[in-house]
Amino acid sequence: MTQGAPLSLHVPEPEVRPGGTPDFSNVPIPKAGSVPLPPVDVDPKDIRELAYSIIRVLNREGEAVGPWAGTLTDAELLEGLRHMMTLRTFDARMQMAQRQGKTSFYMQHMGEEAVSCAFRKALSPGDMNFPTYRQAGLLIAGGYPMVEMMNQIYSNERDPLKGRQLPIMYSAKDFGFFSISGNLATQFIQAVGWAMASAIRNDTKIAVGWVGDGSTAESDFHAALVFASTYRAPVVLNIVNNQWAISTFQGIARGGSGTFAARGLGFGIPALRVDGNDYLAVHAVAKWATERARKNLGPTLVEYVTYRVGAHSTSDDPSAYRPKEESSVWPLGDPVLRLKAHLIKLGAWSEERHKQAEAEILDAVISAQKEAESHGTLHAGGKPSVRDMFEGVYAEMPPHLRRQRQQAGV
């Protein structure tokens, strides 16, 4: 028996750390329009390469090109731009409100606005999203009132969740938005179960699961793919790859696999990879995947390639683990600026109108904020009652909780 060389453990590292020069030259970005559009009933085996490419519609000149283009009218695109701008402004104001001590916590979407805003427009009433904490665009684009979101963030007397939940863990059933949990990836398999239920009842509604790149490492991710594949559940399984899981770069979760989308192939699930900063591409892919689900053709796995421009949360400082300028060299750019450029190219928008829209949106967000703050913030003004703390644990309060509520003096 020959003695081998000593073994060594491989621990992946990002290309660049703080102090280094950010460089994405190793990230292959295919040309816009270069990825084919398969029929929705395609055999997953025939589109394996789509899990390794990136579906893109908007080119560098701001033109919509290729087979995935043309799913939206100019008016719909203008609405999409407004949604993304609203989410960005909402984020900025809530980030500031946290810094002012009006709430304990916030998480931004900076750079990822296109993913949830554009996806939402491919859904029908009654469909259910199982979101993470970074898909508030589903609410904004779904018409959920900003004041309600803020009431939840402030845990005030109008908080729809009665002060029980950490800020941004929204729940909005009537808007197709499942209750957010702090436990990562749990909702991915629940989305599959919801979709199975819809199929069991011969309904026409579909479910959408959401997960980040880091959380794909959770066991729930794998369970979701197994169940979705086995029962051909009418579900779209979305992975938002923003390159970062707090301080951990996506290579730690992805390992040696080519892409996150490629994980679907082993389960026989058609897998697409899309430019997450391209509103048109996200919508086209969402339309394709939701149509597959609605036609009972089964699940689709989609990886959105994007970049988390902001800090992970208000409790995080990214300069401790990545170069400050990294987001500025991200090759897929900024979703808002790209859609803006496209609309200007189409002649449907202008710098002036954009500025005007920015001002209008800021006014709307500030006025919502004023209304929410009139109902209280975390440490001032109206609050949910202490009684609410004991309610809703069960449908009916059991005797031991009644005793504890009495003990608490409420």
Binding site: T186, V192, G193, W194, A197, A223, V393, P399
Partner: protein, 337 residues
């Protein structure tokens, strides 16, 4: 009234529930075509079709996680985890999701699911076919925890659990599946057909959750037990001649505190018995509640007879399982204290 085993009673409960409510679905590993490794779902797929009763991949978190999603949609899933010893991969889904969904969404989403799982030892099941993990669930606000000890209760409590608007952990003592067991492993087992509680009414009936049952009325000592230990306690009372009042808790959460307090205030003494390990077991909660609510009536410390604080062994089965001799000694000690 027809006599049934606990297995048949549990199957009957699902049959009745599926027949009454189209939203009830049943799935788990080997649950569909084959009818379950303990036969608890035999015939259900044939009767209700593959979309109401079906086989699942070997993924406990997948089974429970999917059930939660189905419940959020509006179904009433009754799922099976093959052994309670294998529920741990689903623990996050149960604790963080099923138990909290109503609370965290302020009632927008609810989770009316039942998670059935065979539990308990006394069958040479070794470490991973004998555990009693109830305390891991009674510690979780938002769950209900049920442990039947006979066919009549098993059916009524399972129907009530399926109809309950909250998530229920339904622990089935597999040692009792075919007949009552008092810990006398040297004697042949009597089948349920020879036991009064083997009489199971046809059709629909529900036993309310949160209500204990007095199995043996007595004046000297209150025994708090559930599952297999109900019969062990009965044997110990018989063999020691102590006039013990044996309370079958049936539901551990929410607990029937009134029944417990009434009995202990009458007898002045209390012994708690369970198969699960001692430290931080459910017995600790029972003992604490009894001393809090019956302090001035107690004439002796509350005793606990439980499994040892070890993993469940194989060869040492009867030295581990709290049998009638060990339980009887605790009764005597409590009387002499």
């Amino acid at each position: 009234m027809p006599r049934k085993t606990m297995i048949e009673a549990i199957r009957d409960a699902m049959d009745v529930s599926m027949g009454r409510d189209e939203r009830v679905v049943v799935f788990g590993e080997d649950v569909g075509y084959f009818g379950g490794v303990f036969r608890c779902t035999a015939g259900l797929q044939q009767k209700y079709g593959k979309t109401r009763c079906f086989d699942a991949p070997i993924s406990e978190l997948g089974i429970v996680g999917a059930a939660i999603g189905m419940a959020a949609y509006g179904l009433r899933p009754c799922v099976e985890v093959q052994f309670a010893d294998y529920v741990y991969p689903a623990y996050d889904q149960i604790v963080s999701e099923a138990a909290r969904l109503r609370y965290r969404s302020n009632g927008e989403f609810t989770c009316p699911i039942v998670i059935r799982m065979p539990t308990g030892g006394g069958i040479f099941g070794g470490q991973t076919h004998s555990q009693s993990p109830e305390a891991l669930f009674t510690h979780v606000s938002g769950l209900k925890v049920v442990v039947p000890s006979n066919p009549a209760d098993a059916k009524g409590l399972l129907i009530a659990s399926i109809e309950d608007p909250d998530p229920v952990i339904f622990l089935e003592p597999k040692r009792l599946y075919n007949g009552p067991f008092d810990g006398h492993h040297e004697k042949p087992v009597t089948p349920w057909s020879k036991h009064a509680l083997g009489e199971v009414a046809d059709g629909h009936y529900a036993e309310p959750l949160g209500k204990a049952a007095i199995r043996r009325a007595g004046s000297q000592l209150t025994v708090l037990a559930y599952g297999t230990m109900v019969y062990v306690a009965e044997a110990a009372a018989e063999e020691t001649g102590i006039d013990a009042e044996i309370i079958d808790l049936r539901t551990l959460l929410p607990l029937d505190l009134d029944a417990i307090v009434a009995s202990v205030q009458k007898t002045g003494r209390c012994t708690v018995v369970h198969e699960a390990t001692l430290t931080s077991g459910f017995g600790a909660e029972l003992a604490a509640l009894v001393q809090r609510h019956c302090f001035y009536h107690l004439e002796a410390p509350v005793m606990r007879v439980t499994g040892w604080d070890t993993p469940y062994p194989h060869a040492q089965e009867w030295d581990y399982f709290p049998g009638p001799a060990r339980v009887g000694r605790a009764f005597v000690e409590t009387m002499e204290a």
